[in-house]
């Protein structure tokens, strides 16, 4: 199958001949994304697929600068948006596209949807964001780990014994109380993800269950995607 871009391919990127597939896992912090990506990677590799994992803030170009900027909290929301967009396109062009050209399965730990949801919650214009990411590749599947705030907060506190500044939306001034702010922020984000999910055909996976149960679900879905979209040599 030929991978497609939302509106157009970035300049100097040849859109044809991308034979691999791109699978995205979306979900809030502590929804289990990275755990499942690790499990799926081993599973896919055992099946003989080459896997590349990508995520946010991992670009060689601005990844470190972005991490640093997050600590200081001095950039405007729009500047952060654009910084993240730079990071995203750097990975798209330098990691994702080459891997797809080589026929790999790319597992993305979050994608443009998280970036869009975060920005919308912070007042960005949807059309502006849609245009900004109009050169992103359309994933073969987007799985959304739908997890209740109770589960999220339990997992977060158990793992870190504290809440993250950004994941609590503290920059938004929703509440001076971190826990209250966290709840409000999670609620807003989850509302945005619902809207985006409809628009971009997310497959919702119940993330409140045990790791093996969620894993089984994801594998079943991915097997279908591989069957329909991966140009297996056996079919030739």
């Amino acid at each position: 199958m030929t991978n497609k871009f939302f509106k157009m391919a970035p300049p100097q990127v040849e859109p044809s001949k991308l034979s691999g597939i791109l699978i995205v896992i979306e979900g809030m912090d502590s929804s289990g994304r990275s755990t499942h990506i690790e499990r799926l990677t081993s599973w896919l590799e055992q099946k003989g697929y080459a896997v590349l994992q990508v995520g946010l803030k991992r670009s060689e170009l601005v990844g470190p600068a972005l991490e640093q900027a997050k600590q200081g909290n001095v950039l405007s929301p729009r500047t952060m948006s654009l910084f993240y967009a730079t990071d995203f396109y750097d990975q798209l062009e330098n990691s994702i596209v080459p891997a797809l050209r080589a026929g790999s399965v790319v597992l993305a730990d979050r994608y443009v949807f998280t970036l869009m949801a975060r920005d919308i919650v912070r007042g960005a214009d949807f059309e502006w964001l849609e245009s900004l990411y109009s050169m992103a590749l359309i994933p073969s599947a987007v799985f959304f780990l739908d997890t209740s705030w109770r589960t999220l907060v339990d997992r977060t506190l158990k793992a870190h014994a504290s809440l993250d500044y950004w994941e609590s939306g503290m920059d938004l001034g929703l509440s001076r109380d971190w826990f209250e702010s966290y709840l409000k922020y999670q609620k807003r984000m989850s509302a945005e993800f619902k809207i985006l999910g409809k628009k971009y055909n997310f497959v919702t996976v119940n993330g409140n269950r045990s790791i093996p149960a969620v894993d089984k679900d994801l594998r079943k879905h991915i097997e279908q995607v591989l069957e329909t979209e991966y140009p297996a040599a056996s079919k030739a």
Partner: protein
């Protein structure tokens, strides 16, 4: 929420490398200061926060047309949100050495979609006056190539593979950038300035246009008033 009105004025200078626009905007800045105006000057690609990433990307030739464009937009957004817009709302005359039109010209030459670029910078105001320093390509090229023979990779458009020769690549690249600028004259109502005139003559014209367009008296620094 009530938005504060913009009482300041935004003035940008654009043109090819070697068009002399930086000299002109420097002289303009000095003049407005001498008149006692509230004035602020800012340069393209100068935000400290994203400078490291830009430098790294350029030095290691990591940038694609898209990331080149985005990193400059990030830099611009940082200056726009933290400096340009607050200064405009605070009633300053803001002078910009290059504005979004630089990106529209260069990035379009690199193959970025024009509509995408315009939406990317959709948050920024179109300046009250945009001076475009216009001069024949050969003169601009000669000014640069005579004085500073060591051209940087992206500056010369080497990423486009126009020519293996740096100087030749620079010539072709600048020619294309100029075509883009020319097409923006009507689109953004640029005020062209004949950059073949001598520096003093150009500056007189620029000052005349500003004095004729902006009520400069409104921008004089507020004096301290004693309240009894």
């Amino acid at each position: 929420m009530h938005e504060s009105p913009i009482t300041g004025k935004l003035i940008a200078v654009e043109g090819l490398d070697g068009s002399g626009k930086s000299t002109q905007v420097y002289l303009l800045h000095q003049w407005l200061i001498s008149l006692g105006c509230r004035v602020y000057f800012t340069e393209w690609n100068s935000s400290i926060l994203v400078k490291d990433a830009t430098k790294k990307g350029k030095r290691r030739q990591l940038l694609t047309p898209t990331t080149f464009s985005l990193i400059h937009a990030t830099d611009f957004a940082d200056r726009y949100d933290r400096q340009i817009l607050p200064m405009l709302k605070g009633g300053y005359i803001v002078l910009c050495d290059r504005f979004m039109f630089t990106s529209f010209a260069r990035d379009a030459v690199r193959g970025c979609d024009k509509t995408w670029l315009r939406k990317l910078y959709g948050f920024a105001r179109v300046p009250d006056i945009t001076f475009y320093f216009k001069l024949p390509l050969e003169i601009a090229l000669n000014r640069i190539l005579e004085g500073r023979p060591e051209l940087k990779y992206f500056e010369a458009g080497m990423d486009l593979g126009l020519s293996p020769d740096v100087q030749e690549s620079f010539r072709i690249f600048q020619g294309r950038v100029q075509d883009q600028y020319e097409s923006m004259i009507p689109e953004y109502n640029f005020t062209p300035v004949d950059a073949t005139l001598n520096v003093h003559e150009q500056q007189q014209k620029v000052r005349e246009i500003i004095a004729g367009t902006i009520d400069l008296a409104q921008y004089h620094q507020r004096r301290w008033v004693n309240h009894d």
